[in-house]
Symmetry: C2
């Protein structure tokens, strides 16, 4: 432990601290009505959140302290910040109902993070159980750019209220959301996959305000549709079997 | 598990949810410049925080999920809410320095909660290592009542900036703060203790705005003084021993 120095052990926690820093900043910016800056701060927090886990695994410095600290900072940046951003930008105009929706989103975020810490080691890695909180918060953050680009005023939008509530509740469902962790780009069919990935990247860079939000909404829609299809197939299989028995 | 019903298992988590609810409310109230209401919301959150753990232990329904969920909600109510309350009421007038102090308090709160979850089972129960986060947040909340009562304007107060920074840093020290968990009121000397406790209770009820803050500051001061005394005694003992060796 001594040979590798203290810095390498501090590095993941430093990234996690940066995550909290940008989450905190997002909240103060939201209350100054600087919604776009707040949304950027939330996305920056996500970048640091992606980095901390990866760096810890790469340098093999994952600690139980780091896992706890990471969840806590995630709640600030991906539970509180997006919820308060939408509260100031829209929900507060709906009185207590709006406040309730904002609190429900934050509460569902906390429940999602607590469940993840308890179940992460037990569940399969190919998919997430319930919408991951950084994707819920990313959808909210990018919706700020998207609505501004298409000139849609969110101040009194019922659609936004419904979206925040829906994203919150999706986090505490047991619906499956693919993690793509079992996708290997070395396989034969990878050529098409790399092509799609490249096209998405180009779209993200050139039309970020539009494509980032649509990509996340597309991911959520695709996951829900795939889950629905799985359910239908299951029911059909059960019926087939019972018909075989009857015949 | 079935015989005792689902409700008894949900009860501690319901209290924890109420903790988050009042923490969230405190943040929105702070940004509406309703500092006293925000401070009350933080204190109410503390009451629910005291209840959840106790109810879980009494009904023997403590779960690892509950422990995780509790920490997350604690960060909202005792890390974010007091920090944002002081940011709006005072720190923001100090520019980036004020923002930095607010973020440091929240960050130290997250570090304290993460450390507690990792070390709670290992450390002795007679004292806390580092200032507990509900006491740091309680000191900030009651300081709002106190300063208002003595007509002290906090808007541009350097003392308040120093207090928030000091409370934040105290959380991540390893200083000992007595938990009073080994105090048994059935002992012989308990008569005086019950008397003191009763006097404190009367003071708390009759002069809450003054006594609540002074009590918390007194607790912190007493703990630091006791720690200092322990250090001095240790040094003296080492000297005595070395003198004995010399003689």
């Amino acid at each position: 432990m001594r040979r590798r120095g203290v810095l390498i052990y501090a590095l993941p926690n430093l990234f996690t601290s940066a995550n909290l820093l940008f989450g905190f900043l997002a909240i103060t910016l939201a209350f100054k009505n600087q919604y776009e800056s707040a949304a950027w701060a939330i996305l920056l927090a996500s970048v640091f959140d992606l980095l901390d886990g990866r760096v810890a695994r790469l340098t093999q410095t994952t600690t139980s302290f780091g896992v706890e600290f990471d969840s806590l900072c995630d709640l600030v940046s991906f539970g509180m910040a997006p919820s308060l951003l939408m509260y100031v930008a829209c929900l507060q105009n709906f009185g207590r109902l709006g406040l309730a929706v904002a609190i429900i989103f934050a509460l569902c975020g906390a429940l999602r993070l607590a469940r993840f810490n308890v179940l992460a080691s037990v569940l399969p890695k190919a998919y997430f159980q319930g919408l991951p909180i950084p994707i819920a918060s990313g959808t909210i953050a990018t919706s700020v750019f998207f609505t501004q680009k298409i000139d849609f005023t969110i101040t009194n939008s019922v659609t936004v209220v419904a979206m925040v509530l829906f994203l919150g509740l999706l986090m505490i469902t047991t619906f499956r959301f693919p993690s793509f962790k079992d996708t290997h780009l070395r396989h034969r069919r990878s050529f098409t996959q790399v092509g799609i990935l490249f096209a998405l990247l180009v779209a993200l860079v050139l039309w970020f305000e539009i494509s980032s939000f649509l990509l996340l909404i597309g991911y959520i829609g695709f996951s829900l549709a795939a889950g629905g299809l799985r359910q239908v197939r299951k029911i059909l299989k059960v019926r087939e079997k019972s018909q075989v028995v009857v015949n």
